[in-house]
């Protein structure tokens, strides 16, 4: 009944201040009685230069300390004391800090959490301490709840009186012995910098015992068990977030530790033996670099825990260019080589799947949210999809680059050389300060989010840090409490109409030592939607903790049909027919069973790895950025190429594999045992070239298959004869290199080869597509048609239509107009899908319907009749949506400074203007004269490319544009083409390989996609969120649909996928750049 009354009261909007109409309304402190401000004043001695975490701010803990059903609030203070507020209902709070004795005055408090450690049914309070050494009560404190709104500090008795730079603690039953253990996030006092790329630091415990700690509860006394539990406690663990979840669905609690600065994050899987196994590199492909707070929850209702870790990347281009510093390619390589893994300057959204975590923050548009402290994942609008809140702001812009290079550099800094300590305060005084808004993202499903800004009431600029959600008025929706630097703490009321948007809230009671059953997982089943999962781990976000309750939004459902509860001991119990909008209290009964994990994979895995032959591709070490420093990603890792055909006519497919520069290609010929014999000697002739494409064909119509190797890549001079494509003639099963049979007037870095008898004379001919004209990225490559004379040589047939096509990456023949004469389809980067009709040997371009807006970054094209209508369709692999590229982007190509080298400047479209993606230093290094008008980063941040280079130079540049980033299946219709929807997972990464095949033999074509591109500058981040994807076609009333998908488990950069006929079985071969080739076969 209470919630109903409260909802009615809401109509009168009591105590709301601003933004009426928004979902969240900030309550005034006059109304709430909460006047807490985390006031931070720097001094000469104590400031962000002398104390690393000065502006990290403080947090919020929420818990019902007097068991009156109303959640009470505890704010930590850094320089100021903490505050405890008793909830008196109706958003009225009473400050009882002094009588409770939890102020911790004169010492820096950081994270805090309520937890019942003496199992008397009253929540105790653990407060972490940080800041400068010394002072009274510098140790972390444990306030035992006396049950009468007073507390007794007892940390020593529990072994929790730890002194250090503590950030937060999380209590949970790690070893299932029934009591609560503790992970304490503790930072070493060691300064950052200088030693940051030294190998093997992680495994050395901090000499002063100031590292992270895993403490086990030994009859009420906590003992450091870090080493035994395999927890890193080194000096380089600069952790800012503890995130607990059962990530691998084995019912045991796992840990994710997000580390700031250079150290990578830790992913600890519970080993079910009281310890953990750290496996971040096995399960993640990309991490956030300066990782801050985090949260884990199921974002897509597949019953797997997804993870969002925040970082510091600004939202706007201007702030990106003035307040972010990016690692160079060389430094990034050094980090990887020294064990710091793939870390990138952005938030990460890790989608948890059966094939590992996929980082899709860029696709979900959550990658940049400013200097962010934490994510909180909770269902703000009770629609059954959990939303994302991110707290933002740093009181001083520590990374402002103009400040760094110019402002901090005048007299004051000169003085600092003499005396390092006398002028720091002056330095900080002039450091810029800019408040930014917090962010709330509505979950739209399928990992799409909408930034709700003012609609949800979060448009106020602020310096927010720790935050927590809680239903403060027990009306069924979650309110929000935020601790700020130098701004009064925020209490936001969620004004959702909870009669229409209902929820399930559950608390747990137990007579064990874990009285609130931390670690419990619930799975709610209702009639109309897929099951929903929530976990009970109070410590989360940043330096904060939420109530000992779990919450699930369930839309308009009045009741929960059944609730599966997995208790912390791993047993399971189901409760039926629970009312919504009511706080349910559940306790374990005798009817508990053993939990049987349900497979959440909607389709079972169809592939198993198998063996046929071994081949390791060895990419040569070449750094494109050293020659063309403005391009965002490399193009020198495009191999290996595969060509499949039955060469020896034994009914088993044979495989040609092209090598990288300085690697001999091989032909794997099937033998009578079902195995393969290697043929490599003939191909040594051309081993110094890089094979990027290959095809078997019959240009002499002698019935056997000859071979054309497309030679390309980047690591050659534009005059190099090693770029010449190679023709190998098959004579009685032996291959012979025929030099000079393909005429060449200049060297061509080939991107694609396509063979076909274009003039219907019985001899197969060759189309060659040029990728890097004159070895420059962004020039327009030509297409070349070489006609076979039937006697082993070729003549060029000039085709004006093939001039200046673009950065060609693939080409395929198809009879588009049904006149028997083969037509040609060409794709490439920064170009549209282009179709050339063959009029009896003369080609001219047509613009088919459905391909109008197809300027993309295409890597691969496949042609097959996927919908079985007898007409060939196009399947084209694009860069996907999980990257920094945008539709509407342009690339301007010209020698802008007339010094003989071409610049490629890629720009975002902002309004009508084009703004370079480049960091200022990169552009200035290429064209130093530009610094004249842009001494400051501020100057650069606000300028368009026309303002930087001048309208005239921009107008005369070659311009290319992108309309589409999506990998797309285009069905051939009576007129032109029509794109058909495919699962969004196909857009998680760049696609470089496509194979169409009815893998599950259901009569509908399926498509295998593979890709990834790792050689991307770290500020943009590599494309790595794919491990191969099988998209399953199905027929719905005769119409083809691509609705289902299966994640494969082929890690790496897939460059070719081919279906391969072996004895009595179909194999799938996956060729990966710089790795071993892999084989898979279908299982039934």
């Amino acid at each position: 009944m209470r919630c109903f009354i409260v909802s009615l009261l809401l109509l009168f909007c009591i105590g709301c201040t601003s933004n009426s109409g928004a979902l969240f309304i900030k309550k005034t402190s006059d109304h709430t009685g909460i006047g807490f401000i985390n006031k931070l004043t720097y001094t000469e001695e104590f400031n962000p230069y002398t104390y690393r975490n000065f502006y990290n701010g403080a947090g919020v803990a929420v818990g019902d300390i007097n068991n009156d059903g109303l959640l009470d609030l505890f704010f930590t203070g850094n320089i100021v004391g903490n505050k405890l507020y008793l909830n008196q209902g109706n958003f009225k709070f009473k400050d009882i800090t002094v009588s409770a004795g939890v102020g911790c005055e004169e010492v820096w408090s950081s994270g805090s959490t309520f937890v019942d450690l003496n199992h008397d049914g009253f929540l105790d309070l653990y407060v972490c301490k940080s800041g400068k050494p010394g002072g009274a009560q510098r140790n972390n404190e444990l306030f035992i709840n006396n049950g009468d709104l007073t507390f007794t500090e007892s940390s020593k008795a529990y072994g929790l009186d730890i002194i250090g730079l503590s950030v937060q603690a999380a209590f949970f039953d790690a070893d299932r012995d029934g009591d609560l253990d503790c992970y304490l996030l503790n930072n070493s006092i060691r300064s950052v910098g200088g030693y940051d790329l030294i190998k093997d630091q992680r495994t050395i415990p901090d000499a002063n015992n100031n590292g992270n700690k895993f403490l086990i509860n030994d009859n009420g006394v906590f003992k450091d068990n870090s080493a035994e539990a395999n927890i890193y406690s080194s000096a380089i663990g600069f952790g800012l977030g503890i995130t607990l979840s059962d990530f691998n669905n084995d019912t045991w609690p796992d840990l994710f530790i997000s580390n700031d600065f250079f150290e990578r994050d830790y992913y600890y899987l519970n080993n079910q033996k009281g310890g953990f196994t750290e496996q971040v590199e096995e399960h993640f492909t990309a991490l956030s670099k300066g990782s801050m707070g985090a949260d884990a929850a199921d974002l897509d209702n597949d019953l797997r825990s997804d993870l969002i870790v925040t970082e510091m990347l600004p939202v706007s281009l201007k702030r990106k260019k003035t307040k972010a510093i990016y690692d160079s390619w060389d430094k990034y390589q050094l980090q990887i080589n020294n064990g710091y893994y793939h870390q990138f300057p952005r938030n990460v959204l890790q989608r948890n799947t059966e094939a590992g975590f996929f980082e899709i923050s860029r696709m979900s548009d959550l990658a940049a949210t400013e200097w962010s402290w934490a994510s909180l994942i909770f269902d703000m609008d009770n629609d059954g999809l959990k939303d994302v809140f991110i707290s933002n702001g740093i009181y001083k812009d520590l990374l402002d680059r103009d400040y760094l290079n110019h402002m901090a550099n005048e007299e004051s800094v000169r003085m600092m050389i003499k005396n390092d300590d006398q002028v720091i305060k002056n330095l900080i005084d002039i450091m810029p300060s800019q408040a930014v808004a917090n962010k709330a993202f509505k979950n739209e499903g399928d990992f799409r989010f909408t930034d709700m800004e003012s609609a949800w009431g979060f448009d106020e600029p602020t310096f927010s840090n720790g935050s927590a959600y809680a239903d403060l008025d027990n009306d069924g929706d979650l309110d929000l409490i935020i601790n700020n630097v130098n701004i009064p703490a925020f209490v936001y009321e969620n004004t959702l109409d909870t009669l229409a948007h209902r929820s399930l809230q559950v608390q747990f009671k137990s007579t064990t030592q874990n009285t609130s059953l931390i670690g419990t997982k619930i799975i709610a089943y209702t009639q109309s939607r897929s099951p929903l999962v929530a976990e009970h781990f109070p410590s989360k976000g940043f330096q904060s903790s939420v109530p000992h309750r779990v919450h699930l939004g369930i839309g308009n459902q009045k009741r929960i049909d059944s609730l599966q509860v997995i208790w912390p001991d791993g047993t399971v119990e189901t409760f039926f027919d629970l009312a919504s909008n009511k706080l349910q209290t559940l306790s374990p009964s005798e009817n508990r069973g053993v939990y049987q994990p349900v497979s959440s994979a909607k389709e079972k895995l169809v592939f198993v790895q198998t063996k046929a032959f071994a081949y390791k591709h060895n990419e040569n070490n070449y750094v494109d950025f050293n020659r063309e420093r403005l391009i965002p990603q490399m193009n020198s890792n495009l191999g290996p190429a595969l060509a499949v055909a039955d060469i020896n006519n034994d009914g088993i497919d044979d495989v040609f594999i092209g090598g990288a520069k300085n690697q001999t290609a091989v032909l794997q010929l099937s033998n009578s045992d079902g195995g393969y014999d290697v043929v490599s000697v003939p191909f040594e002739k051309t081993k110094r070239s890089e094979v990027v494409d290959a095809a078997f064909f019959d240009p002499d119509n002698d019935g056997d298959l000859d071979l054309i190797l497309a030679h390309g890549g980047r690591a050659f001079s534009k005059f190099s004869p090693l770029l010449d494509d190679a023709f190998y003639e098959n004579i009685d099963g032996q291959f012979y290199h025929r030099k000079g049979v393909i005429p060449s007037t200049r060297s061509i870095s080939t991107g694609a080869v396509a063979t076909q008898d274009f003039n219907l004379d019985g001899y197969d001919d060759i189309f060659i597509g040029e990728q890097f004209k004159e070895m420059i990225y962004g020039t327009l490559g030509d297409g070349f048609l070489f006609q076979s004379n039937g006697k082993g040589t070729f003549i060029e047939v000039p085709q004006p239509a093939f001039k200046n096509l673009g950065i060609i990456t693939d080409a395929q023949w198809m009879d588009y107009n049904g006149d028997e004469w083969p037509d040609l389809v060409v794709v490439g980067e920064w170009m549209s899908i282009r179709v050339f009709l063959n009029f009896k040997g003369i080609f001219s371009e047509v613009k088919p319907k459905g391909l109008e807006k197809t300027r993309g970054l295409w890597n691969v094209l496949e042609i097959a009749d996927v919908d079985g209508d007898g007409k060939k369709d196009l399947i084209a692999g694009n860069i996907g949506e999980n990257n920094f590229f945008e539709e509407g982007m342009k690339m301007f190509v010209s020698d802008f400074d007339s010094n003989g080298s071409v610049e490629q400047i890629i720009c975002f479209k902002r309004g009508e203007a084009y703004v370079p993606v480049l960091d200022k230093d990169e552009l200035i290094a290429q064209i130093p004269a530009l610094k004249k008008n842009m001494v400051y980063y501020e100057d650069y941040g606000k300028r368009s490319i026309s303002e930087i280079l001048g309208e005239a130079r921009i107008n005369s540049a070659l311009q290319m544009e992108i309309d589409s980033r999506k990998t797309t299946v285009f069905l051939r219709k009576d007129e032109g083409f029509e794109a058909i929807a495919i699962p969004l997972e196909a857009q998680y990464s760049s696609v470089y390989a496509i194979q169409v095949s009815d893998v599950n033999e259901d009569g509908a074509a399926d498509v295998l996609f593979g890709g990834n591109q790792y050689n991307v500058k770290p500020q943009f981040g590599r494309h790595d969120a794919s491990s191969g994807l099988l998209v399953l076609g199905s027929l719905n009333k005769g119409m083809l649909e691509f609705k289902k998908k299966i994640f494969l488990n082929v890690k790496g950069q897939i460059r070719a996928i081919k279906s391969l006929k072996n004895i009595n079985k179909q194999l799938y071969i996956f060729a990966k750049n710089n790795e071993e080739i892999e084989f898979y076969e279908k299982i039934d």
């Binding site: 975490n53 300064s191 600065f261 050293n626």
Partner: protein, 450 residues
């Protein structure tokens, strides 16, 4: 009084004042402090804008030559044109406009050329406006100022057209250095792991050297980490000195740091300190020497031209060796093999180790200065005072250059071999320059002006 009467009175007094100063301004603009102020301003802007040491040597060079060539036109009896002495420089002809004052034109040419190379043009503009005002205050007639500036601008254009052919712009887009795995090769260094600076500087047109590798030093010691090998002994020496540095060594290291851009990290907070470059330090010493020797306008201008040429060629010579030998910095090896937390006293600059730039350029500059001012020219080096460092005193330029060289060992950024061979390289470059560049021809100084 009415307004027009007041106006006339003002005009009259102004006219009187300018008449009175008509003849005295010529003496006032012989003040060599005008030259010193020009150079000091350029140094300040170089520090502000942040240039790497070799690039800074280029920013000093062309303005100094522009100033010299202009001055020389009015002093042909005492000074010889650099045209024909440095590569590719075409001669200038005197202006036909009799109003041109060559000192003013020289000052203006210096600033105009400087402005083309620095970035913060507003700072240069402010300085020039101030200079113009000073000249007006000294009584320089408007017509003289105008004609002189016009001629100065013509000289500047002439010099800039010449500078354009030095391959600087082209080398901006030459390939970056590709990091090589083998341990003996140079790798980027902490804390910022910056890309290697100017790997193609040896392609920049030299002034007096025949080529960038005219004076190749001895090859570096063979890379060998075996205990007791010559290389290992020198590596260990850097490590040991760093650990047990004396106050005197520490002071020397810091005094000659001359790193234009040093970043300091405190967690996420960063700040950078900026200082003059090694070349800038020797420009500072040139200023001290010319003042101490009471050099006149012409001699001061001459000294800067000679020193900047020596510095410029010395950097090219040194950079040729650095990017050919690609020797790894001691910090990289010490952190890996001896002590992962060892930090050099000075921040390791971002380019290969062998030879030491400071050793090469300091010796070349010292030889040039010795040629101009003689042996045993004792001086107090006050250059670094404004960067918070003390004064150090030297009995000769060579002594100062010796200390600059060895400071790199104390600073933990060079092996002894790079210092010894760097000094030898600088000696050869310096001797070559003083032999090839002959500017002062010893005419009658009294006749030089007017």
């Amino acid at each position: 009084m009415n307004r027009s009467y007041f106006f006339k009175l003002m005009l009259l007094s102004l006219t009187l004042a300018s008449c009175a100063q008509d003849q005295s301004y010529k003496e006032k603009i012989k003040d060599p402090e005008l030259v010193q102020a020009n150079v000091k301003n350029l140094t300040d802007i170089i520090v502000y804008d942040i240039f790497s040491p070799p690039v800074a040597s280029r920013v000093y060079l062309y303005p100094a030559i522009a100033a010299y060539q202009t001055m020389q036109l009015a002093n042909e009896e005492s000074y010889a044109s650099l045209s024909g002495q440095v590569k590719g420089l075409e001669p200038l002809t005197k202006s036909t406009n009799e109003n041109v004052n060559y000192n003013i034109a020289s000052l203006h040419a210096f600033n105009q050329v400087g402005k083309a190379f620095i970035f913060s043009e507003d700072r240069m503009n402010a300085f020039q406006e101030n200079l113009d005002q000073q000249l007006k205050d000294k009584g320089v007639p408007r017509s003289v100022l105008k004609a002189s500036k016009k001629f100065g601008a013509e000289v500047a254009a002439h010099i800039l057209a010449w500078a354009k052919g030095d391959l600087y712009n082209q080398t901006r887009t030459f390939p970056k250095y590709t990091i090589q795995e083998e341990e003996h090769y140079w790798k980027p260094t902490p804390p910022d792991y910056m890309d290697g600076i100017e790997p193609h500087w040896n392609q920049i047109r030299t002034m007096a050297l025949d080529s960038s590798n005219q004076f190749p030093p001895k090859p570096p010691l063979a890379f060998d980490l075996t205990e007791g090998s010559p290389f290992q002994i020198q590596l260990k020496e850097v490590y040991e000195i760093g650990k047990n540095i004396t106050d005197e060594q520490l002071e020397i290291a810091k005094f000659w740091d001359c790193n234009p851009y040093v970043t300091h990290h405190r967690g996420h907070a960063m700040f950078a300190t900026k200082k003059i470059t090694p070349g800038g330090h020797w420009i500072g010493i040139t200023s001290i020497a010319t003042r101490k020797a009471k050099s006149d306008f012409q001699a001061t201008t001459n000294a800067y031209a000679n020193v900047t040429i020596a510095l410029f060629d010395a950097f090219i010579s040194c950079w040729d060796e650095k990017w050919n030998t690609l020797v790894v910095r001691p910090e990289t090896l010490i952190n890996k093999h001896y002590d992962e937390e060892w930090l050099p006293i000075l921040q390791t600059p971002p380019f290969p180790e062998y030879t030491s730039g400071h050793s090469v350029i300091s010796r070349a500059a010292a030889i040039t200065l010795t040629d101009l001012f003689g042996d045993n020219f004792a001086f107090d080096d006050t250059t670094e005072i404004e960067y918070g460092l003390p004064v150090r005193s030297y009995g000769s330029f060579i002594e100062a250059s010796e200390e600059a060289a060895v400071s790199r060992l104390y600073g933990g950024i060079h092996y002894m071999m790079a210092i010894e061979e760097g000094v030898a390289q600088g000696q050869e470059v310096g001797e070559h320059i003083v032999q090839r560049i002959q500017t002062f021809t010893g005419g009658d100084k009294e006749l030089a002006l007017n």
